[in-house]
Symmetry: C2
Subunit: 88 residues, 2 copies
């Protein structure tokens, strides 16, 4: 007979934290990519605007604050590089 134990609360918390960490950290490689390529033409301004508004009006947590900062940084770089590209 096989007994399947339910995941403990601690294990579920760990998975939840790891999941939240993934979504937060995920914006860092995007920021680095835009910074390195000095281009963000394929990136949607509307996406990062809506996303920032959504995160900014949600509950204030450390993870949300980091996500918001990264999303705003990507947004700022996009505006900068798009303007530079259209000025060429």
């Amino acid at each position: 007979m096989v007994i399947l134990s339910l995941p403990s609360r601690a294990a579920m918390d760990l998975v939840g934290s790891a999941a939240a960490c993934c979504t937060t950290v995920s914006f860092l490689p995007q920021l680095i990519r835009v910074w390195r390529r000095k281009s963000a033409r394929d990136i949607s301004l509307t996406m990062f605007l809506l996303f920032s508004i959504g995160i900014g009006s949600g509950p204030i947590t450390a993870a949300n604050a980091v996500t918001l900062a990264l999303a705003l940084a990507i947004l700022a770089l996009k505006l900068r590089y798009d303007r530079r590209a259209s000025g060429q």
Copy 2:
């Protein structure tokens, strides 16, 4: 004397839902932009991979399911257009 009332539970729920809606819907303009431009060179594969893993291992809600579907669609288009671009 000015009496400031605390926001009602309903009002807070509304703001929370609107915030969640923004972050979910935000991926749609990105998908449309990549689809229209047939290019996703500036988009980070790592971002959408990490984001999808994070959303996918979090709690299963309707909003998360939509976000995951949109993120995976962007990921698929990126792989497709990047391969096409490198094959040229």
